[in-house]
Every structure is written in C-alpha cells, then in structure tokens.
Amino acid sequence: MTQQNIATPEHIEYVLRMGDNALILGQRLSEWCGHAPVLEEDMALANTALDLIGQARLLLTHAGKLEGQGRDEDQLAFLRVERDYRNVTLTELPNEDFGRTVVRNFLFAAFQVLLYQRLATSSDAELAAIAAKSLKEARYHLSHAGEWVIRLGDGTELSHARAQAALDYLWPYTAEFFAANPADDAVAAAGIGPAWASLEPEWEALVVPVLNEATLTVPARTPFRTYGKFGRHSEHMGHLLATMQYMQRTYPGAQW
C-alpha cells in the first residue's frame, strides 16, 4: 500500500462507507438463514450475505491500512461505536418480509454495480482491485434480485401489493446513496472515486426499467433524508450492533 501514510480522512471514510455497507447488509441478510420461502432462496440469500461479508473484509482491511493505526477488519467491524459506522441507513433496516428484502437487495446492488464500475479507474489501486473483484458479485446480486422484483411485482395481486409497499417504504432511503458532504468533493477531486451525486442518473436508468417491467410505480422523491453514511443512523442500528458485537464485547481481546 503506497497510500498508507498519505491517506486523507476523507479517503478513509470513503472506503469505510463501502465496507460498512457490505458489512451491515451482509449481517442483515444472514438473519434469513433457514427462514426463506424456498430452499433455493435460502441459499441465494446466504450466498449474497457471504459475498457481502467477503467484500467487507477486503474493504475494512484496506480502510484499516489506510488509517495506519493497526486496526484490522475485526476491530473495525466489531469494536466501533454506532456513530462511527458509515453505512447508508437503507442497509441497516430490518429485513421484514421477503418482498422488502429483495427490493432492498435490488436497489442496493444497482448502486453497488455502478460504484464498483467507476472505481475501476480509482487512483487507489487497491480499491480498484477490490472493486473489480466485487463487481461480478454485485452484478449477480442485481440480476437475481431484479428477477424477484419482477416476479413479485408481476405475480399475484398480493405479491404486487407487497412489492409496491416495499418499494414505497425503501425508496426514500435511496436518496442517501447520492448525498455528500463537502469532504466528499476532495475524494472525487483526488480521483479516488466518483462523486456520489454523479451516480444518480445512471442508477435511475438501471433501476426504473426493471420496476416498470415489474409493473411497479416508481415513487416520487420527497424531502425525507437519512444520514447513516455520515454516522447518524436509525433506531434499528443499535439493535443490529448489539447482536453483531456481542462476542467481541463480552470477551475483549480474545482471538477466534
């Protein structure tokens, strides 16, 4: 890592955001294990969770190196306080039913695909490599979740209603994908990664046709805003962390 000693706080934060997105959504999806509507989806959800945890490991390890304070993936994953997590709020929301789960996976994977694509030209070579490796996974998640969005949206009356309700609920949270604070400009300027807002048109272009095919109504944008990526989370986050951090908090310093 040549950047090790010259990484700016914004750079570290940018990588942490990606790592925490993967970590927290991976954690949520792993709750499904053994409880999905069909065995194939039990496996598919576990597989998506596994991919995301894998990405989180690479990204958090990289963030730890950039930070240069000796924190490894586990210290970052398990031993921060809530305010220091940088995932978008969408990823921490409870799974609720299978409909909300696949709609979320779809909306998020579309964002991740675009982000990972753009990171191919990142000035952070390690980040570019991680993104290249992860892009294939994100594409698979997108297509798998997209198929389910279509099946549910264009399925029965009930499944249509549930898919639409899930979309209505989740849509306002996606505004956060594209929100930035002034520090983020520095990241874009340094060529580390795209400005968040620049992804929005492509994201809509990726997402809307599938929602149309699913016969779902794309909700209008509202003033609703969330701030998980800036460290201000929802009430759900603390409960997720209580579970996720339990072992590390209870047995400090132990190796597993």
């Binding site: 945890i53 339990y246 047995y251």
Partner: protein, 311 residues
C-alpha cells in the same frame, strides 16, 4: 420374479440400481424414507448453526459459517433430487417433515448455546455424520450414492473447519477453553447416539444390509468414531465426558460407557429441547413464504401466456 432375480443379482454383484430400473417396492420405500430423512436433517440442521451467524466473533468465522450453512442447504437439494428420482416430489416430502410424519436427525434437537458449539458441531456432529455417510457412497442406489460422494467431500471440509475453530479457541483465554470443554460435555453423548440404537435393537438394519443400502452396522460405526475421536480430543486438550472411556488392548478399541437410551428415545419421540422450536421455525418460514411461491408460479403462468400470444 424375473425382475426380482435380476435386482438381487445386481445387488450381489455390488452393482448400482438406477432410477429407471425395476426395484422391489419395499426397497423404494426404504430409500425414500432414508434419503428424505437425510435431506430433512440437512435442512433442519441449518437452524442450530444459523443461530450463531449473526453473532460470529470474527468476519472470517462468519464467512465460514455462512458458507457451511449454505452447503447444508445444497446437500438438502441434492438429496431431495435423489429422492425425487424414486417418484416422490420434494413438496410432498417436505410437508411430511412439517406435519411431523417424517423424521430428521435428532441431533438437531439440541440447542447451540455458545460459539464453541459451532466448532463442536463441525468436529463431532459432522464427524459422526461422515462416519455414517462414507459407506453410503457405495450404497446400491446410484443417485443416492452419487449424492453422497459429493456431500462427504464437503462434510469433511466442514469437519476440519470445526476442529480448526476449536484449536484456535483452545489456544485462547481460560474462558475460551472452558467454553470448548462445556460444549464437548454437552455434545459428546448426543454425537455417540447419532449412530442409532445398538445393532441388536436396530429395526431397519438387517434388510438395509441385505439391499446394500447399509454396509456397516451401527455399533461398528460408533466404535470407529470413538476410536478416531479420542485422539483428536487429546490433541485439542479437552476431556471427553465419559469416565469409562479407556483403551482396551485386547479388543484393540476404546471401551466406552453405557449410552442413556432413555434420553435418545425421548428426543426422537419429540421431547428434546428443540423439537418443537425447530419444526415451528421451518413451518413459519414455509407458511410466511407461501405468497412468494404463489407469486413465482403466477408470474411464470403469465409469462408463458404472453409467449404463447407472441408466438
């Protein structure tokens, strides 16, 4: 009668019976029961381990556990597919599980209480499963035997990972070592019981042997397992909870204490700690997922109708 003779000859020659071959109805029934029971065990077995995924203490271990539980789902799929070659549908079999007509391995009615349980399940439970399953790789029914080859390979990988998890914990703090010992204390006897009743009390064994479905007796497999495990326990540095466990020079095997068959049968018959919760969890997932399965069917119907119109 000709068919029967041909079937018998094939079995005696150590050949494989395939789905399209004639087979005695009892043979088919036995296989359906055994394979589906095995498939159900994989599916129910996802629950006790799944219980710890969200609390896994490191990302590496979380990933390993996720992959393992996913593999178990995969084993369930191969096995249901093998059973389906015998003319029953997966949904039929699964409903028999949900309404309590079909059984699954009783070992999954014990709870996973600490992180060490995850390691011990890999080491002892998967270890015992492998002992049981290796002979099935040469089982007389082709589809089952081929599924088992694949499964055994993955299971032995899981067993090594479980053992590795325990080794790591035993190198750790006194609390971690205590946790491992506690888990071993709870899982040792149930693992031993996984080989089923003693040969003299085993209901289905004799015909299964005759048909080449079963190749080694319960007690022989159990002895093999104990012999292999004692050494691994020594390397780990834990004590197996059986004061009667000791090497018998004359037999060339380890002797071990009397099994509490009352507990075994009580658990098999529904009174283990988790029987009710396991099936309730599976039933809840199935019922709450009904609308999703219906949506998939309805969408497929719509698609087919649209394609027909287009054609």
């Amino acid at each position: 009668a000709d068919y029967q003779a041909e079937f018998d000859a094939k079995i005696d020659a150590g050949g494989f019976i395939e789905a399209k071959d004639w087979m005695p109805e009892a043979y088919r029934k036995t296989l359906v029961r055994q394979i589906s029971q095995h498939a159900h065990s994989e599916i129910v077995g996802m629950l006790p381990e799944g219980n710890w995924i969200t609390r896994a203490p490191s990302l590496k271990r979380k990933a390993i556990l996720l992959a393992k539980v996913q593999d178990e789902g995969g084993h369930g799929l191969y096995l249901y597919a093998a059973a389906e070659t015998l003319g029953v549908s997966r949904d039929e079999l699964y409903e028999a599980l949900l309404d309590g007509r079909a059984k699954y391995s009783s070992i999954f009615n014990y709870p996973t209480l600490t992180w060490a349980d995850i390691g011990v399940i890999g080491w002892l439970v998967d270890g015992a499963a492998i002992m049981n399953q290796i002979p099935l790789c040469k089982c007389s029914y082709g589809p089952y035997s081929r599924a088992m080859v694949r499964i055994c390979k993955e299971e032995s990988f899981h067993q090594r990972q479980g053992y590795d998890l325990l080794l790591q914990m035993m190198k750790g703090t006194p609390e971690q070592r205590e946790m491992v010992q506690d888990a071993v204390n709870r899982w040792w006897w149930p693992s031993i019981m996984m080989f089923g009743p003693h040969d003299k009390d085993s209901q289905h064994s004799e015909t299964s042997m005759r048909w080449g479905i079963k190749r080694i007796s319960n007690d022989d497999l159990r002895q093999k397992f104990v012999d292999a495990t004692v050494k691994q326990a020594e390397v780990l540095g834990i004590t197996l909870p059986d004061p009667d466990l000791k090497w018998n020079e004359a037999r060339g095997h380890y002797d071990f204490g009397a099994i509490d068959w009352e507990e075994f049968w009580s658990t098999v018959n529904g009174h283990g700690q988790c029987n009710v919760d396991r099936i309730a969890a599976r039933r809840k997932a199935w019922e709450e997922g009904a609308w999703v399965r219906e949506a998939a069917l309805e969408h497929a119907r719509k698609q087919a109708a649209r394609e027909k119109v287009a054609a």
